[in-house]
């Protein structure tokens, strides 16, 4: 795979070239908040703020998506029908909807890309489970161009969960900021295909994989990277990695969560949680959803929306029985889902260490603290207290 150099001032031209064949989504600062938004020429890409408020999750897994439309009509009776069959009868017509435009997400961080990889497991039917056509159509149509985290924040803990500031998992091309621009490492055939239409200079272009027709696009010149540029990028990555000290160790966490299921420390930890669900909405991995219907006269739709496992109604049954009636049960479920239940079912954790839940929690609940406490055997803590 190719390694290129993109001059800083060429970035808009590159995005414009990409926008010829796909919609381009980038972090954009607006009214002081950085969010992933649709890019168009003239839009300034915000890369100085490390993390957008939310991950680009919603571009693949929208907050609200209609997947079924229905239409009640009265059908005329069949020709020659007699008796009751001769009366008009009700029918319903169904139409499925699943919009999956080709898109390139530029400027997400390696932890955000890894979030998609982790969610791919549950939606992709790994382990013999069901394949979700809604998510996968958009995931398939999405190319991820991540940017190496030059200055990780104090809340970052990607290294504790197996990632790193220059992580490549799920990344189709990795952009690392160096003097004068970016070192561009093309990592997948998908990344190659997206860049195939981009003009190259000073060397061989990126060949389009077979079957992909490159559009006649100009601009966004990618140069061959020099050895010095490659070396500088490696230094940037190493320096960034060194800044993320793993705040806990994964080893034994699952077993300890299991053993500590009934432990009273869950009650202490959740005390200040207000069940607002902010952590679930900003999380690049939280995927739980709700399904609802809407009907206006004879036309309606069925849609799914993000849900929040901290909401008591999330599991409340019609009878009034609620298996997770108490806040501590729901609190425990979220962390256990990420570090015990999900790894039990799939080949992955459900946390990429972005730290957004720590940054945005209104009561400053810290997942690292929760895991340090609950990921420790009861006996060890007791000893710790005595010491």
């Amino acid at each position: 795979m190719a390694t290129k150099f993109l001059a800083q001032e060429q970035l808009p031209a590159l995005l414009e070239a990409l926008a010829q064949g796909a919609r381009v989504v980038t972090p954009v600062k607006s009214d002081g908040v950085v969010q992933f938004e649709l890019w168009s020429p003239g839009t300034e890409v915000e890369l100085d703020v490390l993390l957008a408020k939310q991950s680009p999750k919603e571009w693949v897994f929208p907050q609200c998506e209609t997947y079924l439309r229905f239409d009640y009509t009265m059908a005329p009776p069949a020709e020659g029908a007699e008796g009751e069959a001769a009366l008009p009868h009700e029918t319903v017509h169904l139409r499925t909807t699943n919009e999956a435009p080709r898109q390139v997400i530029f400027g997400l961080r390696p932890c955000d890309a890894r979030g998609f990889v982790q969610m791919d497991q549950v939606f992709g039917g790994y382990g013999g489970f069901y394949f979700d056509p809604l998510y996968n159509a958009r995931r398939e149509a999405t190319t991820l161009f991540a940017v190496t985290c030059r200055e990780p924040r104090s809340t970052c803990f990607c290294t504790a969960v197996g990632g790193c500031p220059a992580g490549q998992e799920g990344v189709d091309a990795l952009f690392t900021e160096i003097d004068g621009g970016f070192l561009v490492e093309v990592l997948t055939a998908k990344g190659e295909a997206a860049l195939a239409g981009v003009a190259t200079a000073g060397g061989a272009g990126i060949a389009a994989p077979t079957g992909v027709t490159a559009g006649a696009v100009t601009g966004g010149a990618l140069l061959d990277a020099t050895e010095a540029q490659v070396a500088q990028a490696a230094e940037v990555k190493m320096a960034a990695s060194a800044k993320v000290e793993p705040p806990f160790t994964l080893e034994g966490i699952r077993d300890n969560l299991h053993d500590n299921f009934a432990d009273s420390r869950w009650h202490d930890l959740c005390m200040r949680c207000i069940s607002c669900g902010t952590c679930t909405y900003v999380c690049p991995n939280c995927y739980c959803f709700n399904i609802n219907d809407a009907l206006v006269e004879t036309k309606g739709e069925r849609y799914r929306t993000w849900d929040n496992c901290f909401n008591p109604q999330y599991t409340e049954e019609t009878s009034g029985h609620n298996p997770r009636a108490h806040k501590a049960n729901r609190f425990r479920n979220r962390f256990s889902h990420k570090f015990w239940y999900y790894p039990d079912k799939y080949d992955s954790l459900l946390c990429s260490g972005c730290g957004r839940c720590i940054m945005h929690c209104p009561t400053r609940i810290d997942i690292r603290e929760v895991l340090r406490v609950m990921g420790t055997p009861v006996a060890a803590t007791a000893e710790g207290k005595e010491a």
């Binding site: 997947y67 229905f70 009640y72 009868h89 009700e90 029918t91 319903v92 499925t96 549950v122 992709g124 039917g125 790994y126 382990g127 489970f129 069901y130 394949f131 979700d132 056509p133 290294t159 197996g162 990632g163 790193c164 220059a166 490549q168 998992e169 990795l174 490696a234 990555k237 190493m238 990695s241 060194a242 793993p246 994964l250 966490i253 299991h258 995927y287 959803f289 709700n290 399904i291 609802n292 219907d293 009907l295 069925r302 799914r304 849900d307 496992c309 599991t315 019609t318 029985h321 298996p323 479920n333 256990s336 239940y341 999900y342 790894p343 039990d344 079912k345 080949d347 992955s348 954790l349």
Partner: protein, 307 residues
């Protein structure tokens, strides 16, 4: 950090998942293609008022091919929905051998069940079925089967009862203990009358409080079960009913000497997707919609206490 940072900074995971996920990295493809969210349109062909609060709906798929090819295992469930109101999960209560229709028994309780109760014959519904894991009825060949159920819990066991009655010769015995609050609250009374006539079914009916003209047992299901004192020998005990009844029935089974491996129940949870994704029906790492709803007590004992 200093040691590892000099290593593979290109971003390959330095910490492996091996201690968390033993077989990490092995891609395993999904078993189902198509759109599992898309219901099949079906028509209500018959409605039976079972009790004041429970109706049974017989529905037939509009696509004759879908109807012809439909099959399920006793104990499996389905999503029955009214377009514009929503879907909910119900046990399939028809005989597994039934080819003409698929049947659900629905107690009026919330929004969706209210809309279902308002349906008339000829109305359209959406069905996603079958879902989940049924009872291992083939493994039970040669054994005695004891059904212990209360109220609407009979719906979850109906298809299994029918299956074992259709294959009566494969099973050493069939006992049914069925309890309801009052005589009018028994479902499937038309079938109960037939079961009473058969000498190859040991049928016990009980109501919570005495009532004029009632000639069967009186008392709560677990208490009657203990009076019955069935032998655990070569027997599979299956229970379903209100959560409180299940709880005490399981205790009674234990008291009578049934092992957790011999004891089965079927769980109910709030569900949305029905395909193990949306996240709400889990008990620890198990999802009731795909890993259940049928569980042996031995399997339940392995799960965290969050029923």
């Amino acid at each position: 950090m200093t040691e590892t940072a000099s290593g593979d900074v290109q971003g390959k995971s330095r910490l492996t998942f091996a201690d968390v996920v033993p077989d990490a990295g092995i891609p395993r493809a999904g078993k189902l293609s198509g759109n599992p969210y898309l219901p099949e349109v079906a028509t209500v062909v018959q409605i039976i008022q079972e009790t004041p609060a429970i109706k049974t709906f017989r529905v037939r798929f509009d696509d004759p091919e879908v109807q012809r090819n439909f099959s399920f295992r006793p104990g499996q469930v389905g999503q029955l929905g009214v377009f514009g109101v929503g879907e909910a999960t119900f046990a399939i209560t028809s005989r597994p051998s039934e080819k003409e229709f698929i049947q659900f028994s629905v107690m009026r309780a919330g929004e969706v069940t209210k809309a279902i109760h308002n349906l008339s014959e000829g109305d359209k519904v959406g069905v996603r079925a079958p879902m989940g894991r049924g009872f291992p009825v083939e493994e039970w060949k040669g054994k005695k089967i004891l059904y212990v159920m209360g109220g609407i819990g009979s719906a979850a066991l109906k298809a299994t009862i029918e299956y074992t009655l259709e294959h009566r010769a494969d099973y050493a015995g069939i006992s049914i203990l069925y309890g309801a609050t009052a005589p009018q609250n028994f479902t499937y009374q038309y079938d109960i009358v037939e079961w009473q006539k058969r000498d190859d079914i040991d049928l016990r009916l009980t109501i919570d409080r005495e009532c004029d003209g009632w000639q069967c047992d009186v008392g709560l299901v677990p208490a009657v079960l203990e009076r019955m004192a069935p032998s655990p020998e070569n027997t599979i005990a299956i229970t379903c009913g209100p959560p409180i009844m299940i709880k005490f029935a399981l205790l009674s089974f234990k008291k009578l000497g049934f092992t957790p491996e011999q004891t089965y129940t079927t769980l109910e949870k709030r569900m949305k997707c029905g395909i193990g994704i949306c996240g709400r029906c889990n008990v620890g790492p198990k999802y009731v919609c795909v890993d259940g709803p049928v569980f042996s007590l031995a399997e339940l004992n392995e799960l965290p206490d969050e029923l």
